[in-house]
């Protein structure tokens, strides 16, 4: 099989890690009780090739540790973070399972560079396959050090501290699970429904001021001149200028915004390309692609084929649009820096800060509060660096929260891509040739699991127009879109029914099982139906979709069944939740999400212009879990998003005879009408005809000072 370097994007920089405290010192610092640490073999520590260590290699590394105090309170420490994927709860389950302790006795400390072991980051769906076993081994080892019997019967005041160990216990067999494999509620759920949970943007520290950053008019622009005199004259305002960086600090968010607006800047930017020419630009690749080794001879097989097809598929740039924009609170004490920020890579952000401020990593603490989602979009530390730079000049702690427009513009995007596919089949409907060229979008899930004797698969890196990075599933969505649409086209070409065509060309039993599970539950047959399946990051997924097509309206997805197999299921309800959420998020990229840009500007950096899925876009969704208790658990944050788009495209073909080969599938539907007024607009009242800004899809009448349009005469 062709091998590729895994996708890395911004994950190149691995910090030269040095354990901050020696082990004995650390154990002591936790106070009484026992500590058990578990080591991770170096090979396992590498995130699917991400993060090279530049020659730094310790033979072993602590990956997690566990502390049990003299009251029986358990604290588990891991560098993984919670961004909505339920890691905090599933990791608590893992500890509870092996320790025999109730989940309520266990607190997870996550993603704090001073308190938790080094971790490359929370991405690649690695928390479940990597961190769950590590914590289970540590917990199993700790359990062996404690007296036997029920957790409640243990007298923790008498536990023997000399038992501290660095060891690994033996995990319970899956058949004996009583906590793993069940669906306990989210451990911090109550804080979320009461508004008590503190996200980064909610943190307030004594003396804290508020920052805003001066953004360039266009990408790649250089700051030519800055007149900050008006801003500097404002009370309590500090203006920070440092090369191309400029920002303001003020006592309130409103004062900071006013000061920012008072800055007069001149920028100079080179001419840049437009999304209108995106797909031809992406073909301007230099040199040879990666991979590209050939099995058999594609040329020969194509020439001899009974039937063959050559098609191009494209995917647009899309934005993560996490509902909590990037945010950071930075506080200096001398040359020591503490930063709270929502990031999937707290240790990576620590490295970025060390490089930016030329201070040792030991001087920096990055703390990651459970964050308002990431989807692969929060690997980098822009807000942390900006807040720290402002705080340095202001001499006080500074909070920086990006605006929605900043998040849509200055974060990075899921890469756009062009994918050329050639396929050939014999008269029995068996694949004889497969050639696949991916320009720019990436290598995740680029290989085909279908059985084909002659194949060539190649990735072509491109000097792309926009800053790109990880996104839930990386290129897995684009590559599955191209592959599963092309398989459908080949099925049509050969006159073989699409599910049967896939089965006929598959040897992988796990793949066949999810396809069959989805088809059975869906009631697969003739109709406005589409199917697609795939594999990535240890998990198999298959999706069936049904669309409704009515004259004069864009096709509407009305029903989705998705089957998912990721080994032994750790938390069934949350696995369903991840699948449902991925299907809904995937609807956006499949149907209407698309970043438009021109000459260094994003043209749709607002929710009013960049459509994301809302309540009424959601079809009926059913998730079928294929629980393989005989296999180790794999992650499920990403792979569930990968097969929705091709299933929809194939369903639209079945319904209309029209092949759509470009994501988003419904151009023209990218911009929604303003969110339904419903609760913004009182029932029976027309939205049009109101004046003075009352039509902005908002609640207040700015002109008349009325709190709500309901009371406004205009």
């Amino acid at each position: 099989m062709t091998t590729f370097e895994p996708e890395r994007y911004e994950l190149l920089a691995g910090p030269a890690y040095n354990f901050p405290l020696d082990r004995r010192g650390f154990f002591k610092s936790l106070g009484g009780g026992i500590v058990v640490a578990s080591f991770l073999a170096q090979a396992d520590a590498q995130e699917s090739g991400g993060g090279r260590r530049g020659g730094q290699s310790a033979p072993k590394e602590i990956s997690a540790w566990l502390h049990i105090d003299r009251n029986g309170a358990v604290t588990a420490y891991t560098g993984k973070v919670e961004v909505g994927q339920n890691a905090r709860t599933s990791l608590t389950q893992a500890v509870a399972e092996e320790l025999g302790a109730p989940m309520s006795a266990i607190e997870m400390v996550m993603g704090d560079t001073e308190r938790t072991p080094f971790d490359m980051g929370t991405f690649g769906s690695m928390t479940t396959p990597q961190m769950i076993p590590q914590l289970r081994k540590a917990a199993a080892a700790a359990r062996k050090l404690l007296p036997e019997g029920d957790w409640k019967s243990i007298d923790f005041s008498k536990i023997d501290e000399s038992l501290n160990g660095v060891t690994a216990g033996t995990m319970k067999p899956t058949a004996q699970w009583t906590v793993l494999g069940t669906s306990p509620k989210k451990v911090h759920g109550r804080d979320m429904v009461t508004g008590r949970h503190q996200y980064t943007s909610d943190i307030k520290v004594p003396g804290m001021l508020y920052g805003r950053i001066l953004r360039a008019e266009r990408f790649k622009a250089k700051l030519v001149s800055l007149d900050a005199s008006a801003a500097k004259a404002m009370p309590g305002v500090t203006v920070v200028e440092d090369g191309n960086f400029a920002g303001v600090v003020a006592p309130t968010p409103a004062a900071a915004s006013n000061a920012l607006a008072a800055l007069k800047a001149e920028w100079n930017a080179p001419p840049q390309t437009s999304s209108k020419t995106l797909y031809s630009d992406l073909r301007k690749t230099q040199g040879n692609g990666r991979g590209g080794t050939e099995t058999g001879s594609v040329e020969k097989a194509m020439a001899e084929a009974d039937k063959k097809l050559e098609r191009t598929y494209t995917v647009a740039y899309i934005a993560h649009a996490p509902l909590e924009p990037r945010a950071a609170v930075a506080s200096w004490s001398g040359d020591k820096l503490t930063v709270w920020t929502g990031t999937q890579r707290p240790f990576g952000v620590r490295s970025e800060l060390a490089q930016s401020f030329h201070i040792p990593e030991e001087n920096i603490r990055v703390i990651m509060p459970d964050t308002g989602s990431g989807y692969g979009g929060k690997h980098t530390g822009e807000a942390a660096i900006e807040a720290a730079r402002l705080a340095k000049s202001a001499g006080k702690p500074v909070k920086l929260v990006w605006s929605r427009e900043e998040e849509f513009t200055w974060a990075y995007f899921r890469p756009a891509g062009v994918i050329d596919v050639r396929g050939a089949v014999d008269k029995n409907g068996r694949l004889t040739a497969w050639e696949f060229h991916n320009y720019n979008s990436g290598t995740s899930a680029i290989n085909t699991l279908y059985d084909v004797p002659n194949k060539k698969i190649e990735f072509h890196p491109v000097d792309a127009p926009l800053r790109s990075g990880s996104y839930r599933g990386l290129a897995g969505t684009a590559n599955h879109f191209a592959r599963e649409c092309h398989m459908d086209e080949l099925a049509t070409l050969t006159g073989v029914e699409p599910l049967e065509f896939r089965m006929r060309n598959l040897k992988d039993d796990r793949f066949k099982a999810v396809l069959q599970a989805a088809a059975n539950r869906f009631g697969w047959g003739k109709g406005s139906f589409g199917i697609a399946g795939g594999f990535e990051k240890g998990s198999y997924v298959a999706t069936c979709a049904e669309v409704r097509v009515e004259p004069g309206r864009p096709p509407r997805v009305i029903r989705v069944v998705q089957a998912y197999e990721c080994g032994a299921v750790v938390n069934p309800d949350q696995l369903r939740n991840q699948n449902e959420g991925a299907v809904i998020m995937g609807l956006g990229g499949a149907l209407f999400e698309s970043i438009r840009f021109d000459n260094g500007k994003i043209l749709n950096p607002h929710f009013a212009q960049y459509r994301v899925p809302r309540f009424r876009d959601v079809p009926n969704i059913e998730i079928v879990l294929v629980d393989r208790k005989d296999l180790p658990p794999a992650g499920a944050g990403e792979t569930p998003i990968m097969t929705l788009a091709p299933a929809i495209a194939n369903a639209i073909y079945a319904a209309t005879g029209e092949r759509l080969r470009s994501m988003p599938l419904l151009p023209g539907a990218e911009v929604q009408s303003a969110p339904s007024g419903s609760f913004l607009t009182p029932a029976g009242r027309k939205r049009s005809g109101r004046r003075h800004g009352c039509q902005r899809g908002t609640h207040e009448c700015a002109r008349h000072n009325h709190p709500s349009v309901a009371n406004c005469p205009c």
Partner: protein
């Protein structure tokens, strides 16, 4: 000016350009109400004004005199004897149905759900989706939110004639 938030009266500056959202978050430290877009497009900042839903990011603080504002922090009641918080039925239903992933949209979703049930105790799914169309959950927990609001409707206090 004076402002009534969750039954507590606060005396605050009424800077003309200040929004209710920043007043709540930055001055009164009621950070359960979230910033999501500042443009009235995502619903993360939803609060109740006199029981009706409003986007606090689009509402001027200065216009709030004489109005009762309820935020996510003010939904739970407290037991008279134990002072333990008793969650609102919508909050309980969100926990029961696990209607969240990252939880950032949750306060706004709950406030929108409460506002709907304040005027309609028996909403069907279409009415729920209609009422909440302006709230974004980027994690995609919409079906669970609809289920939670439907479930909460059963537990809402009702006036018996």
């Amino acid at each position: 000016m004076e402002i009534d938030v969750n039954g507590v009266r606060h005396t605050v500056d009424a800077e003309p350009e200040r929004t209710l959202l920043t007043l709540l978050r930055d001055e009164l430290d009621l950070t359960g109400t979230k910033y999501g877009c500042g443009e009235g497009q995502c619903g993360a900042c939803t609060v109740l004004i006199d029981g009706a839903p409003a986007r606090s990011c689009q509402t001027r603080a200065g216009a709030m005199g004489g109005h009762k504002i309820t935020t996510i922090e003010g939904l739970a009641q407290h037991d008279a004897l134990t002072h333990e918080p008793i969650l609102h039925p919508v909050q309980e239903a969100f926990l029961d149905a696990e209607s969240m992933q990252c939880g950032y949209c949750t306060p706004g979703m709950i406030m929108s759900g409460v506002a709907l049930l304040n005027k309609n105790l028996n909403p069907d799914d279409a009415a729920i989706m209609q009422a909440m169309q302006g709230n974004v959950c980027r994690c995609g927990t919409y079906p669970r939110i609809v289920a939670a609001v439907r479930r909460a409707a059963k537990y809402m206090p009702r006036v018996v004639a």
